[in-house]
Symmetry: C2
Subunit: 355 residues, 2 copies
Amino acid sequence: MTVEIPETMERIVLAARPVGSPKASDFRLETVPMPVPGEGEFLARTIWLSLDPYMRGRMDESKSYAAAVEIGAPMEGGCVGEVIASNNPKFKVGDFVDDRFGWQSHAVSNGQGVRKLDPSAAPLSTAVGVLGMPGITAYVGLNTHGRPKTGETLVVGAATGAVGSLVGQLAKAQGLRVVGVAGGADKCAYAVEELGFDICLDHRAAENPKALRKQMASACPDGVDIYFENVAGKTLEAVFPLINVHGRIPVCGMIAWYNAGALGADAGEGPNIMPKFWRTILVNRLSVTGFIITDHYDQFPTFVQEVGGLIRDGKITYKESISEGLASAPEAFMKLLEGGNFGKQLVAVSADPTR
Amino acid sequence: MTVEIPETMERIVLAARPVGSPKASDFRLETVPMPVPGEGEFLARTIWLSLDPYMRGRMDESKSYAAAVEIGAPMEGGCVGEVIASNNPKFKVGDFVDDRFGWQSHAVSNGQGVRKLDPSAAPLSTAVGVLGMPGITAYVGLNTHGRPKTGETLVVGAATGAVGSLVGQLAKAQGLRVVGVAGGADKCAYAVEELGFDICLDHRAAENPKALRKQMASACPDGVDIYFENVAGKTLEAVFPLINVHGRIPVCGMIAWYNAGALGADAGEGPNIMPKFWRTILVNRLSVTGFIITDHYDQFPTFVQEVGGLIRDGKITYKESISEGLASAPEAFMKLLEGGNFGKQLVAVSADPTR
């Protein structure tokens, strides 16, 4: 099998570190010579690029669990690709793979940490969505850190996003009351009608944080046992007073604070809510657990088997928001940070992706 | 055995809810008729009254894990007492008991939840100190929630207090590096010389929070794996930036914030440190666990056996700060909240206590 390989490839590099919200000039589309795979390496074309909120953190220089993207280097990201040339006996031309190729049309890999995908088992795009990193984040966060019990109440923000939508559906399957928070009436309707959430609050429709708190209190008459934290901001403030004794808060993200400067050097606007929160942690004996999903990849096989089965049985559904072409990635990413996506955000990098 | 029983008893009631730091007029000493034990009840005289920081929380009306003390009702508190009259076959005159008699010279009890004490096993006062509620708080917080491992670094505030001193000694016995924080050179010297801490920082000597942060960074060259939280305030702010990946923060108290209004309606002074803290919880995958020790009293027998043995073997030491007479309790308590005690704060309620 031979594939014609173009002489150049495209990539999007970090042009500047954003101050607050990223803007178009923080990214740069470049055309560079096609790399040639060396010994033991293969070359892949990117089919799907996954866009995820954590990428915002990689654009900053502050200390984090992963190194920042260097200025001038390609943005990082998980991808589904197809092998188009190979000097690695384990990967042959035509194989589909899941790897962190970044925001690039093509990439060379030595195969380390690359997962081969079976396109007949599930649509390829799910490997970076409901059956990939966001999916296992939902799965581990809920089960390992959330420790759900039938009859309990769970709240999750970004309810129709890649993580939140699976958290809620998995919790419903375990007999919990599930309250979502999302931005927009269409998303809230989808969360209830398609995902089966008990209720979904529209944070954009709430006049102010107090209004959201009141709605949250009505939505959670028995309080909140698990708050799956992926958004922070006003959702966190609305939920916190309702958390029950022995409540659990798995923390995997805080998208509302990524752009706001709240986490940077200029943090400190607004009242200091820390003492009240700290007191609630004590008084209500809460478990607040930060987790980074790569620490838990030993659970990947169990996760794929379990959630893959639920998808095949029609018990779990998912939604994708697709942006066309690598050049569209920055705008799609900026929209994602503002909640402008509806479902898992993907970039269709190849013109005619095999799904 | 007959004991002459006086006709009246003394008690200290909550006269007013304090605003910020309690003052003398928030308490009232009363002389009331001696209660008479009914069927199945006994009457005890209080020998030792324990003063503990949590009592500040009971003086406020805000929702907590335990009901507030009513205005006009006796202040709550753990005590060591001696039975002086009994209609309960399980408790005979002369028995020593540990119970929550409150700030009172005498009390009637039906025996429920009362622990009998063997005065030959350990000094009676230890039943409300190193072998009582503060002791098991240290033991459970460290072992169950802190999950210490040899070679790790632990930081604890109020280092010479009833809880902190045991946390540090138990951690040293398990091979950890132990850094204490205390207020005053005498306390810091005691923590290092008598308790065996590796170092103890004097927060009163630090010019400002930044100076304490710098000292903390020098004291913890390998970062901090366990921050045992019983003080909050500037100690928390000094430790937080140093917490290592997978660090644990058992939270049992926050004495620095009890009086400051930081937890009340007027919270919100100073910069909002919450987003930065929340981000650290995520990025460093921290476990923050609030706990209330009464949830863990199933560990009492194991705790008493283990720590009692360490005391008898001279491997654990403890210090007591004794205030004479029930009438001295309010002042001793106000001092305790300001860190004016040195060691476990007790009130010797009976004139000639059997220790």
